[in-house]
């Protein structure tokens, strides 16, 4: 607080506003403590969603993913995802070096894919970003050297084809950012409709609100892009050039 300039700054604002109402009253009005009927209805809608509803959201996702060049692949089980990822690893060339390397989140769903074993026959190492023995510098170097990063996500908003990721131990942020190709794997029931639903969950759902937004919440909608040179759309400005999203339809 000391020397932050806050006191004088806020005083200037108060003078400029010239309001007579006390700050506490205005604060109570702005930040209502109770859930609105609308938010309650949204939470109920999310809770009561059937598998068929989730499939409908998947259709919306696929439709929204097209124009932003996000590849969405629906798979029946983790085995199919592993096979598809192995094929991608074989087919794609590394962007920055000769060696192919993969980094992946330490995440239960990603661990079930068993990528280290599946990629061993191609001699492609898989580095998991949650190993206790590795230092932060080591993790960073592995991510920089990797050509593919594999993550999961907390949610996927169908309406805008947006992956939503909170930051946690083992879930390094740069895995979805620094490698040239980003692969995300989620389960069908992680689909939600839109931003309104996400905010309602993060703010009001008793379970989700404990963690809240975390210190870094990230939305990713497709691969990195720019149109800064003569308005020509180009993918791969700074972030990944390709994003592949696998949605696992049945639990196994």
């Amino acid at each position: 607080m000391k020397n932050s300039g806050q006191e004088e700054f806020i005083k200037t604002i108060k003078t400029a506003l010239g309001t007579s109402r006390a700050a506490s009253g205005r604060k109570a009005d702005l930040f209502a403590g109770d859930i609105s009927a609308e938010s309650r209805a949204i939470l109920e809608r999310i809770q009561n969603r059937s598998a068929a509803d989730h499939k409908k959201l998947l259709d919306t996702l696929i439709e929204a993913a097209g124009p932003i060049n996000l590849e969405v692949i629906a798979c029946d089980d983790t085995g199919a995802v592993t096979t598809a990822i192995a094929a991608l690893v074989r087919e794609k060339d590394p962007e920055w070096g000769e060696q192919k390397g993969v980094v992946a989140w330490a995440h239960p769903l990603i661990e079930r894919l068993n990528l280290p074993a599946a990629l061993a026959e191609q001699n492609v190492p898989v580095f998991v970003t949650g190993l206790k023995k590795s230092t932060d510098e080591d993790i960073r170097q592995r991510i920089v050297d990797a050509f593919i990063g594999v993550t999961s996500a907390d949610f996927c908003m169908a309406d805008t084809a947006t992956l939503v990721m909170r930051t946690r131990p083992g879930h390094a942020r740069s895995v979805s950012l620094v490698p040239a190709i980003h692969i995300a794997v989620i389960k069908l029931d992680q689909m939600i409709a839109d931003l309104k639903e996400l905010y309602a969950l993060l703010k009001w759902d008793p379970h989700e609100r404990q963690e809240g937004l975390t210190n870094c919440l990230t939305f990713i909608s497709g691969p990195s892009k720019t149109a800064d040179i003569e308005a020509t759309m180009v993918h791969g400005a700074h972030g990944p050039r390709e994003v592949h999203l696998f949605v696992i339809i049945t639990h196994d």
């Binding site: 300039g5 806050q6 004088e8 700054f9 806020i10 200037t12 604002i13 108060k14 400029a16 506003l17 010239g18 309001t19 604060k27 702005l30 930040f31 938010s39 920055w96 970003t129 949650g130 993790i139 991510i143 908003m157 309406d159 805008t160 084809a161 947006t162 930051t167 131990p169 083992g170 390094a172 942020r173 740069s174 950012l177 309104k196 905010y199 993060l202 703010k203 937004l213 975390t214 210190n215 870094c216 919440l217 990230t218 939305f219 990713i220 909608s221 497709g222 990195s224 720019t226 800064d228 040179i229 003569e230 308005a231 020509t232 180009v234 791969g236 400005a237 700074h238 972030g239 990944p240």
Partner: protein
Amino acid sequence: MCKITSENYVAEARKAIKNPILQKALADLQNRFGRGTAECYRRLPEGPDLRIKAHKTRMDAIENLDVVLETLADNVRKNGGHVFFAKDSQAAVKYCLEVARQHQVKRVVNGKSMVSEEIGLNEALMGAGIEVSETDLGEYIIQLAGETPSHIIAPAIHKTRRDVGRLFADHLDIPFENDPPKLTWIARKALRQKFLAADMGTSGCNIACAETGHITTVSNEGNIRMSATLPKVHVAFMGMERVAATLEDHDILLRLLCRGAAAQNMATYVSYIGGPRQADQADGPQAFHLVILDNGRSRILSDPEFREILCCIRCAACLNVCPVYAKIGGHSYGYVYTGPVGAVVTPLLVGINRAKDLCLGETLCGACQEACAVNIDLPRMLMVLRKKLAQGDPTWGVIPVDRTEKRIWQAWSWIIRNRSVYDLALRLMALGQKLLPQRNGMIRRLPPPVNGWTQTRDLRPLAAESFIRRWNRK
């Protein structure tokens, strides 16, 4: 401080109009984004009227800005971030330099930010011997060219692929190339090295959320995410008005921002940053600083006639529909903020007299308000500025621009209130106009002091006989 050249508006506008490459780029931009944005608003589940709701939401936050900012600062600090309130650009720059010194920063990557441009951050950092790289592709191009942005969202629209190719060839020591994808990947490679080597990342803030204590940054390229993830320190700058109270408000504003800025339903990357990395997290900055900037905004806040401009979320939708911007481009405005929003906010920030041509140059057609993501009544404020310029205003220190104009109107007002004088004046003018140079039945030049009117247009002559005389004759 960023260099202000708003005095040169007319000369710069003339240059821009004669530049065919710029004219084409501007027309293409407006065709793409102007129409796209309108279509995006129509397809909103709530319809285009969501903009009206957004306006109310913004005004509520602005009119309680003291409370909202204190809540934001408290929540950022709870998460381990630092918050600094800067009354002007000097204070903001000084704070950032101090942070850089503490962390022994040698290289900075800047994720696109209008506020860092406004306070002249890059120059100050470079003056302290620190290397600064702009990382938004458009900003990188104009940094290499030593220019300033000409559009809020598309800073380098005035550059052709050949211009960019030549710049890259000169600065990056590579063969000339003019294919946009290849040029983009050349910049990708060059900037990747900058991101990996940087020890400080700077960014702006699109819309902070007070109740959660996060700033949000929005980009399509991923440069802001890089700048806020890889370096060990992140310093974010926000104009003090760029904050929403709650997530519900944020929902409306973020959706409108993406639509207004680039006719998108959602930008590729949106990051909510609420503090430094935690001890058990592998990456992210070890220190997070948020600098909240006044720099003339509290003065705008104190004037109820202009308070509304603080609702602006800098999406640039108004630039993409403005018929004036479409012709004169961004550089004519001579400041960071261009287009219709610049025509209001620049005079208020740098001096109304100094930037008088900006508000005089606009057409008042109202396209900007229709395109505005938060439905700001820009034409109204342009009119208020014009009124202040005509009559003077002690609060804003405005000196009347043209006393002759005022006297002419006073004389005219006296004439039309006196029937016989009015009739006589009309008859004299009808006679006198025969002496003026004409072409195709139009008057080409008026004599002083009214010659300004015919500088860029011809004038239809008065009828030989007035309507009322013809009426009476019947």
